[in-house]
């Protein structure tokens, strides 16, 4: 049985198992219908031209989480930003780990999707927000919606700010030969609220994992959301990340994506500007080697006037790595005075690495400022020689230049300990022991 059939035939059992009376029952049923119709995306679709899910579909994934393996904090401590205190919503093999987590209901809700979907006290909010910005016809998003049950639920009321950053971490322990995970996150920042989230997926064994994640983020008037995705998984772990952001007047949402690992990573990052004076910021650093593949698909839909969007993605591709950047910007007719910037710069450090980069602009307003640029280059030999003559070995000189190339994306990381961690990951990825405290 192929993966699609397996998923569809499991759906009934899944719903019976969770809660058939759930307020989201109808949403799930609609979603599975859509997935049944569309199936997995194929390379024939323009949006999936460079990313194939074929070989992943041949794997016999377990689709229901079993009893989770217990993890000791000391064994997984290094995957947290452990230098600082954080709220933690942690899942092991798709199951919530209360032992590793630190949730709260103290003025803000930082807890579990499974509670939010089943407890009456959350019903009102779920009715207003759940599945309201996520696509109802993109097949992988609907697949996630159909099986939505667990994930992070974060609700920050008006003018509140959690005391510390929130980490959402998914571990897989290899208790299944191959595991499909479908986390579903809902993040709501009400008027004037502010929060910082760090999301990470981490496989702990060489067993195959595929994660198809959906995150909905709602930023009300004047809210500030700072979201960091750390993608540094093992080479047997694949991730499809579908993130949908809905913004109201004067809100600022920033998403940083650090892609250093994994086998196949697809980021679908979608911003909808439903208000004025909004700022949407997308930044990415991608450093890949081996046969790793990362595909960044971004969308900013400028729906109202006087808004801004900024995209800055830097990529460094070595060995046989492949990368894709596809940045779509839509400016509606009434969205006058839009400022939309998009930049994608890449360095290829091997003859066999490839990058496909493409801006996609659909502009229907006439009074807008849009700029986009993509570059693909190599490291400058003269600059390398210059650094070497100062006693910096070639490998370190290359790393220094690559770090410098990516550096301006890191400048906007507002959690210093996270920034230090990213710096370390970059040094490790580049195979050098340099401080990079540039």
């Amino acid at each position: 049985m192929d993966l699609k059939d397996k998923l569809i035939s499991s759906f009934m059992a899944f719903e019976n198992n969770v809660d058939i009376d759930s307020p989201v029952h109808d949403e799930r049923s609609e979603a599975i219908k859509n997935f049944e119709e569309k199936g997995f995306p194929t390379k024939k679709e323009e949006a999936w031209k460079y990313t194939s899910l074929n070989s992943l579909q041949k794997i016999d994934f377990s689709i229901f989480p079993k009893e989770a393996n217990a993890l000791d904090y000391k064994d997984v401590k290094k995957y947290f930003i452990n230098e600082i205190d954080t709220y933690k919503i942690v899942f092991v093999d798709g199951i919530y780990s209360s032992f590793l987590s630190e949730t709260t209901h103290d003025g803000v809700d930082i807890c579990l999707m499974s509670s939010a979907l089943t407890k009456p006290m959350y019903k009102q909010i779920i009715d207003v927000y759940f599945n309201k910005i996520a696509s109802k016809d993109e097949s992988l998003t609907t697949l996630n919606t159909a099986f939505s049950r667990e994930g992070a639920y974060i609700y920050i009321p008006k003018s509140k700010m959690p005391k510390k950053p929130i980490e959402i971490v998914h571990f897989s322990t290899g208790n299944e030969a191959s595991l499909l995970l479908q986390p579903r996150n809902l993040i709501i920042a009400e008027e004037n609220a502010e929060l910082q989230v760090i999301e990470r997926h981490q496989s702990l064994t060489e067993n195959e994992v595929l994660t198809n994640s959906v995150t909905e983020i709602f930023a009300a008037k004047n809210a500030i959301v700072d979201y960091y995705k750390v993608q540094n998984d093992l080479s047997t772990a694949s991730l499809v990340d579908n993130t949908y952001v809905n913004q109201k007047d004067d809100s600022v949402v920033k998403v940083h994506t650090f892609s250093f690992g994994g086998k196949l990573t697809r980021n679908n990052l979608n911003f909808y500007q439903n208000g004025e004076h909004i700022d949407s910021i997308m930044k990415g650093v991608t450093i890949l080697g081996e046969k790793q593949h990362v595909d960044h698909h971004t969308l900013v839909h400028h729906i109202q006037p006087n808004c801004e969007s900024h995209q800055d993605y830097k990529g460094i591709y070595g060995e046989n790595a492949t990368g894709v950047f596809n940045g779509k910007i839509i400016v509606d007719k009434i969205a006058q005075k839009t400022n939309a910037f998009q930049q994608n710069n890449n360095i290829l450090v091997s003859d066999k690495a490839t990058i496909n980069t493409k801006p996609q602009l659909e502009i229907f307003a006439d009074d807008v400022k849009c700029s986009h640029g993509c570059t693909i280059g190599q490291l400058d030999d003269d600059a390398l020689f210059y650094l070497q003559t100062r006693g910096i070995p070639k490998k370190e000189a290359r790393a220094l230049m690559m770090y410098a190339f990516a550096n301006n994306v890191l400048e906007s990381v507002r959690i210093p300990e996270l920034k230090a961690r990213i710096n370390k990951l970059i040094a490790k990825k580049l195979g050098v022991n340099l401080g990079f405290d540039l």
Binding site: T389, G391, D437
Partner: protein, 250 residues
């Protein structure tokens, strides 16, 4: 210290150095002069180990060791320093952190621990004051947006930090006004000792009034066509290079 024997080098199938012989001993200052395109910068790059230039014949020997197989960083670790005619801009790397990395990598190569941060700061302060370099300057990206003169002064700052045994200064005087020239020359002179040596590449006699050479060599068409004492520089300044070219033909 440095011995160059019958050195031939080419780039992209073009022969540029055509048999250079030069010996530089500890404590000496040598000046290399010559018209544009004669191969001065190429000679400097070959000594520093630039891979783009292919050595087809001859050798560069430091303290009795052929440098043929040494990468540029290994030559740097052995004490060779090149002040570039055209220093490269490196966006995103600050002068300070670049120097920290350079010094600590050189120490690592010698089996030493990283220099303690305090000591590093002190060294940076001392050397930047000597060269009258503004502090703000040190946090800027290396050479990015620097004026010609700032770049050259920054090269000598790096030299002062690294304390090389053999410094090659490639047209360090160009782009410097007379005050900056004095500061830079003064910096170089302070670093001079009986254990190290300086090779000054220049077009003009001006710098040589401050950094007084023991020997002057004229490079023309990839060969040293004339050598002499410091008075040769004055003669060149007066007469230009044409008489040398003519002499070389004869």
């Amino acid at each position: 210290m440095l011995k160059i024997n019958d050195l031939h080098a080419r780039v992209e199938d073009k022969d540029i150095l055509k048999g250079i012989n030069l010996e530089v001993n500890a404590g000496e200052v040598h000046a290399i002069m010559g018209p544009n395109g004669s191969g001065k910068s190429t000679l400097a790059s070959v000594i520093a180990g630039k891979e783009e230039f292919e050595v087809t014949q001859g050798s560069v020997v430091l303290d009795g060791e052929d440098l043929e197989d040494d990468a540029p960083e290994e030559r740097a670790h052995k004490g060779i320093f090149l002040s570039f005619q055209y220093p490269v801009e490196i966006p995103g790397v600050s002068v300070t952190n670049f120097m920290k990395t350079a010094i600590n990598e050189s120490r690592k190569a010698r089996g030493l621990e990283d220099m303690p941060a305090k000591e590093m700061l002190k060294l940076i302060r001392e050397k930047s004051e000597m060269l009258e370099i503004d502090r703000k300057f040190l946090s800027r990206s290396l050479n990015e947006g620097f004026s010609g003169g700032e770049k050259k002064r920054n090269e000598i700052f790096q030299m002062a930090m690294l304390e090389p045994r053999l410094a090659i200064l490639d047209e360090t005087d160009s782009g410097l006004d007379i005050d900056a020239l004095r500061i830079v020359a003064n910096g170089v002179n302070k670093l001079k000792s009986k254990d190290n040596a300086v090779v000054v590449i220049t077009h003009y006699q001006r710098l040589l009034e401050y950094i007084v050479p023991d020997f002057v060599h004229v490079l023309h068409n990839g060969k040293i066509v004339k050598s002499g004492g410091k008075e040769l520089a004055l003669e060149l300044e007066e007469k230009g290079y044409d008489w040398i070219k003519n002499e070389a033909v004869v």
